[in-house]
């Protein structure tokens, strides 16, 4: 479960402070797959980063008792000039996978992302599709209670999307997902609950169809 208590988040821009959320309080029930929907710039990714602890609110607290992955996004938490393998190793070390466990994860990512020998090229030479495949595969190599997935699946080709859904079904037996997506079919297939982010407010819809309707309206 997640609980947000009086969360305020703003960013300082050259033109002054812009508030994304003000005094936001809500509780998300445990054991649900959460879909985040909303227009571009509404604050979906910010909310996801807050949930994952990758960003901190100006005031207020976010409480959870679950392990949460890093936000898996299109830009990816990668150092561009290092090779794919080095980046994978880096994340493995951050999450405490050493030795045989690390080699196992590298093999997994290499196979899942189908990058073959590209794994030893710098990440900045990858296409966006390749990068998101590596980012997604890397997060799947670790066990978390919640996976934070930010539009990664939408850039892949049809075959990769199938693969993603397959491994997702496997993972979702034991874990949950927080999914940011503009693809409503994906949301309705994978999520049990929808959070509509709109004008700094968040509306919770227990019924996914209803949430999608409210978004499209």
């Amino acid at each position: 479960m997640f609980e947000l208590r009086n969360v305020t988040k703003s960013y300082l821009t050259p033109k002054g402070r812009r508030y994304v959320f003000r005094n936001l309080s809500l509780a998300i029930p445990p054991g649900k797959n959460i879909g985040l929907i909303g227009r571009n710039g509404a604050g979906k990714s910010t909310l996801m980063r807050l949930l994952g602890g990758a960003d901190v609110p100006d005031s207020g607290t976010i409480v959870t008792d679950r392990s949460i992955s890093w936000p898996v996004g299109l830009t990816g938490g990668f150092q561009g000039s290092m090779s794919g393998r080095d980046n994978i190793k880096f994340v493995c070390r951050v999450y405490g996978a050493e030795g045989e466990a690390m080699r196992e994860k590298i093999r997994f990512v290499q196979e899942f992302a189908e990058i073959g020998t590209w794994i030893d090229e710098p990440i900045k030479t990858y296409s966006s599709g390749m990068r998101s495949r590596v980012a997604f595969g890397l997060s799947m190599a670790f066990d978390f209670d919640y996976y934070l997935i930010d539009e990664v699946m939408s850039v892949g080709d049809a075959q990769f999307k199938r693969k993603c859904r397959k491994i997702f079904r496997e993972k979702l037996k034991t874990s949950n997902v927080v999914l940011v997506s503009h693809s409503m079919s994906e949301i309705s297939k994978l999520c049990d609950i929808v959070l509509l982010v709109k004008d700094g407010e968040i509306e919770i819809y227990e019924d996914v169809i209803e949430g999608i309707k409210a978004y499209s309206a």
Partner: protein, 233 residues
């Protein structure tokens, strides 16, 4: 190309100034060959300068890594210092071996104190770099000014000439600069017959470093949440 440049930069500096100096004043200074004299002071100075300046960019360069909540801006600062120190150490060792092979006397008079002073200087550069990084995070346009300030520092820190050659009337002001103390101390520890100017003290550098370290860590603590916030800096 970048890898070659880190080796070529100090060698270029050395060659140009050695040539200029030999043409103007003759070949030796304080009883040692001029290139040796310059190398001993210049290598640490370049390390400190690079460390301090590169810390200003480390936040921007490693932005994507802050997605992992375990990684904090301070980690990237420390990592940058370690990388810079390793690179400089390697380049310095290469040049020293080159010089020794060429026939220069590269022995170090007081190796333990020399190493201590180098470490102190690195700590100073780290504190300075962190303060600069925090300042330029708040005011990014200052980056250019700070880079320009480091250029005259090269000349008033006694990198190319002994501090004794600097104008005596200005000495009280010049001695406020910890870099001058550091280069003089390092030279004094490497070269057996080097005469430091009056007023050089390791106490001053230590005090300056501690105060700066306190300020930098304190302001880092106060600003740490702003630093990972994605939309600024």
């Amino acid at each position: 190309m970048g890898a070659v440049w880190i080796l070529i930069e100090p060698i270029c500096h050395l060659l140009i100034f050695s040539l200029l100096y030999t043409m103007i004043r003759g070949r030796t200074i304080s009883g040692v060959e001029y290139p040796v004299f310059v190398l001993v002071g210049m290598a640490p100075f370049l390390l400190y300068r690079n460390t301090a300046l590169r810390l200003m960019d480390s936040l921007r360069e490693n932005r994507s890594l802050f997605g992992y909540k375990q990684i904090k801006p301070l980690d990237t600062y420390i990592a940058r210092v370690i990388v810079e120190a390793c690179i400089s150490g390697l380049v310095y060792a290469l040049i020293v071996f080159g010089f020794a092979w060429w026939g220069f006397d590269m022995s170090i008079n007081n190796p333990l104190m020399w190493f201590m002073t180098l470490a102190l200087g690195l700590l100073f550069a780290f504190s300075l770099g962190m303060v600069l990084a925090l300042i330029t995070h708040a005011l990014p346009s200052l980056k250019l000014v700070i880079r320009m300030v480091f250029f005259p520092l090269y000349f008033i820190s006694g990198v190319l000439i002994p501090a004794a050659y600097l104008p005596h009337a200005l000495m009280p002001i010049l001695l406020l600069n910890p870099f001058l103390h550091l280069t003089e101390l390092i030279r004094g520890e490497v070269l057996p017959h080097y005469a430091m100017v009056d007023g050089i003290s390791i106490g001053y550098v230590t005090g300056f470093t501690l105060v700066l370290l306190f300020i930098s860590l304190g302001s880092y603590r106060a600003r740490r949440l702003h630093l990972i916030s994605t939309k600024n800096g």
